[in-house]
Symmetry: C4
Subunit: 271 residues, 4 copies
C-alpha cells in the first residue's frame, strides 16, 4: 500500500464524516426492543473471545469484541464496560446499530461502542468486530511504514491496511475516542471492504464473517506487525506475499481456523 | 519536548539544589507523631499497587509506591524496605515529609524515600508517587530522544517529560541514589508540574492525584516507551499526539482508569 | 552463506519440482498397511516434542513434528490435524512416505504432511522432522540477511541455511502451503543435506537423526535468529562461528542434548 | 571500554594460554579428599541460585553456578551435569581446583567445570561463579559494541567488560567449550580483576564475593545488555555512568542485594 493510497482512505473518511453528522442526527436514542434470546454457545464464544484476546496479548485492560445478533442483523452483542479478562456471560448486553442498549439496567457501556454499530451498518458481511490497542500494531498506525503481509498466516492483510486518522475525520483535535456515531461512520468508511484498519495514535479495528476468524485475524495482525518490524530491522529489502499469494493463502489459511480456535477456547474457558 | 527544554529543566534542578541544601539543613529528624489510623481499604490499595506494578513489569525487586496520608497532607504511607512483590499491609509505615518514620520499630526504610517526601512537599496536588526502574523507560533517560505520547493511553505525557540528571543537581558524581532531602528537592524541581520525570541512569518517578491514576500512568509510561522505540525503529517520521489531542485524551482516558484498576487489583490481591 | 548460494538452492528446488511432478503422478494413494506397533516410549517422546515446541515458543496453534517409524523406514508417525499443545498419544497416526494415512478412521491429516513424507524419502539419515512458524526465524526467510551461527548452541547452522521459495518451486503464486508431494519434494531438494531450511513467507523445517536433537535444533534455531537480529542491530560487524568452529561445536553440543531434553520432557508431560 | 582495551584483554588471554598449558600439565587428576561437610543453608542457597537464574532468564537448560567451599578455599561446590532448573541439594558435588570430583559416584560433571576451578585459583576474592548463555549478553560478545553500565543497577560493569575469544586463547578453532584447565586459565586471565567477562560465541562468566551478589550481577548484566541495546537503537549518543558514578553506585547498590535475594529465593524454593 502506498502513501497515496493511505491519503485516499483518509480523504474518504473525512468526506464521510460530514455526511454522517447530518445523517446520524435523525436517529433516536430510545431503548430499542430485544431481538430475542441467543444460543448460549454463541455467548460462550463471545466470552471466550474476550479472554483469548487477552491470552494472545491483543488486548490488555482495554479493548472490546462484539458479534452481530444472529436473529436480527440490526442488533449486536457486546460486554458492558469492563476489562475483557473479566467478562462473563452475564456481562453481555444487546445493542441496536445506533449503539443504544436494549436493556442497560444501570450497566455502563463502552464509550466507543459506535465503532461496532457503524461498521455493522456499513458492512452487512461482517458478523464480528474487535477493537484493540494491539501493541505491535500501534507503531504502524503512527508511522509511514505500511503494514503488509509477511507470511501466509496474515495473508488477509493483502490488499492494504488503511489508517484512520481521527483528526482528519473530525476536522481537528479530538480526545482520540470514537465516541459518537459520526466518528464510527468515518472509521467504517476508512475500513471500506477491508478486514483490518489501523487507528492513528489509538489502535486497530478487525472484522470478519464470524467470531473465530475475527479473533484469528486480530492475533495474526499483531504477530505480523511484530515480525514485519523485525524483518525491516534486519536491513535490506523484505519480500512480502504478492497479491495473488495473499489472496490464495488468505482463503486456505482461513479454512484452518478451527485448529487454533479449539486450543484457544479450551484454555480460555478452563480458567 | 526539545533538547532546549530538557536543559532548562536540568538547569532549574541544579539551581533548586543549592537552595534546597540550605533550606533542608534546618529540618530536624526526630520521630514525628502519627497522623492517625487510615482506612484499611487505602492500605489494601497500596499493597495492591505494589503487586500490580510487579505484574505489569514496571518494578522488579526494586521500586516503591506511596500515598499521601488522607488525614494529614504532611505525612505519607509507604512499605518498609522490601521487594514490592512481598509487601503486605503489615509492612506499611508512616512518614512525615522529612521522610522520617513515625514508628520504625527496627524496620528499615527505603534509602530513596526522600523522593516521596520532597515531591509531596512541592506538589500539594499529588496524592500518590511511584519510583521505578521501568525497563523500557530507562533507555529514554540516557538518550537524547525525548519520550513523547504515541497514543491516547499515554496522553498524560503531553507537555514534555523532563529528565533529572543527578550529576547536574549534585554538582558532580554521586552513587545515583536520591538519598537525602536536597536531592529529593532537586528531583521535585525537575518534575515541576508534570506527572512523570525520567531519572538519568536510574529510572523514573510518576505522580498523580490518586493511587489508581498513578499506577495507571506508570504502566502506560512503560508501554509508551516500548511502543515509541518500536515506532522509531520503523524509520521515517513518527506522528505523536499533538498538544491539544494529548490534553483532551488525557482527560478522557484518565476517567476510565477504574476499568483496568478493577482487573489489576483483583488479580494482585488474589495471590 | 552468500546470496549466490541462496539462488543456487532455489534453482535446484525449481528444477526438482518439474521432475517431481512427473515422478509423483505414478504413486497410488490407497491406504497402506501398518508397519506394526511402536514402543510407547517413542510415542511419549513424540507427544512431549509437540508440547516442548509450544513451551519453547517454536510453534503456536500450528506446526507439526513427526518421527520415522522405527520398524519401517517407509513409514512415519505424526499427530492428526490439531494444535500441537493438545496432542496426546491417541492422536498419533501412521503414514507411508506418500503421506497416506494407514488408518485414518475419520481423523483429519495436516495438509502439509508431504513435507514429512518427502523429506523422509530424500534423506535416509533423517529420523524426525519439525515444521514450524518459529517467530524469530520468519523474518530471516523474507530478508536478504542469511541466518548464521552466532554461538555454539546453534553451531549446526554452520554450512548455510537454504531458503525455500515456493513461488520459484511452483513456477508461480501458490497459497504458500506445501500441500502435495511435488512441493514436498521441491522443499526436500532445497533442504539438501542440511538440518534446517527456511520457507519464505511461511516458516521453517528442521530435521535430525532423532527426535531429541530435532527438537533441540528447532529451539536453538529460534534462539539464534533472535540473538542474531539483536547482534546485527548493535551495528558494526558481527563475528559468527567459523566453519571449523561450527563443525567442532556442532558435534560437541549435539552430545549434550540429553540435558535440556530431560528438563523439557519432564515439564511437558507433567501438564 | 575501547576496542583497544578489548584487544589488550585478548592478547593477555593468548599469552596466558601458552603459559597455562605448560603449568597445568603438572597437576594430577586423582580423586581428592573432601574438605568436609557444608552448612545446609549454603547448599540451599546454591540450589536457589540455580533456580533463580532460570526464573530471571539468565540460564536455560544450560549454565552452572558454583560456590567456593567455606572450609577450604582449594575446593568448590557445584551441581552434577543437569539442567539448572532440576538441581536439588542431592545433586551438589565437591571439586578441587583441578576440577576433579571428590566423590563422583558415577555422577557426570559439567564439561566446562574448569571455568570454575581456574577462576577460583586465580582470584582468591571470588567466592561464587556463574557461567551462562545469558540471551541479551550473547550479542555483545560477538559485536564490536562494548557492554557498558547504563544505570546504577549494573554499575559493577564500570571499568570495562573484557571479551574472551577462545580462538585467540587456543591458537585456532575449537568446539567453543572451556573443556580443560588451560582454557579455564586463559579465561581467568581475560577476566582479570573484573566481575564479568563475555565469551565470544558462547556466553559469559560472572563472579563475586558471595553467591547473592554473583546472582545479582548475572541478572543485571542481562538487564543492562537488553536496555543498552534498546538505548543504542534510539539513535544518538547514549550517556553511560561515568567511572566515578559506577564506582560509587556499585558500592551502594551492592549493599541492597538482600532485597531482591529475599524475593528470588522465596519464589525459587517454593516450587
Amino acid at each position: 500500500m502506498t502513501q497515496t493510497t493511505r491519503r485516499t482512505f483518509l480523504a474518504a473518511g473525512a468526506a464521510a464524516f460530514t455526511h454522517a453528522v447530518i445523517a446520524r442526527a435523525a436517529y433516536a436514542q430510545a431503548a430499542p426492543a430485544t431481538a430475542g434470546p441467543v444460543d448460549p454457545a454463541l455467548i460462550d464464544d463471545l466470552v471466550a473471545a474476550n479472554r483469548i484476546l487477552v491470552d494472545q496479548g491483543v488486548v490488555d485492560g482495554y479493548g472490546h469484541v462484539s458479534v452481530r445478533h444472529p436473529a436480527d442483523p440490526q442488533h449486536y452483542l457486546m460486554s458492558r464496560s469492563i476489562a475483557p479478562e473479566l467478562v462473563t456471560a452475564a456481562d453481555i448486553m444487546e445493542y441496536d446499530l445506533d449503539s443504544t442498549a436494549v436493556d442497560a439496567r444501570g450497566r455502563t457501556s463502552y464509550l466507543e461502542r459506535f465503532i461496532h454499530g457503524e461498521i455493522y451498518r456499513a458492512r452487512p458481511d461482517v458478523k464480528a468486530i474487535v477493537h484493540n490497542h494491539s501493541p505491535s500494531v500501534i507503531p504502524f498506525g503512527v508511522s509511514t511504514a505500511p503494514l503488509r503481509p509477511l507470511y501466509h498466516m496474515s495473508a488477509f492483510l493483502g490488499g492494504g491496511v488503511p489508517v484512520f486518522d481521527i483528526k482528519a475525520a473530525a476536522g481537528g483535535a479530538t480526545d482520540m475516542l470514537v465516541r459518537n456515531a459520526a466518528l464510527g461512520r468515518a472509521l467504517a468508511t476508512t475500513l471500506g471492504a477491508r478486514p483490518v484498519a489501523l487507528m492513528r495514535g489509538h489502535g486497530a479495528v478487525v472484522v470478519g464473517p464470524n467470531i473465530q476468524l475475527t479473533v484469528f485475524r486480530s492475533v495474526y495482525t499483531e504477530m505480523n506487525a511484530r515480525l514485519q518490524a523485525q524483518a525491516m530491522a534486519l536491513g535490506g529489502p523484505v519480500t512480502y506475499l504478492d497479491d495473488e499469494e495473499a489472496r490464495l493463502a488468505g482463503g486456505s489459511v482461513g479454512g484452518t481456523v478451527v485448529r487454533p480456535w479449539e486450543l484457544w477456547r479450551k484454555k480460555a474457558l478452563a480458567r
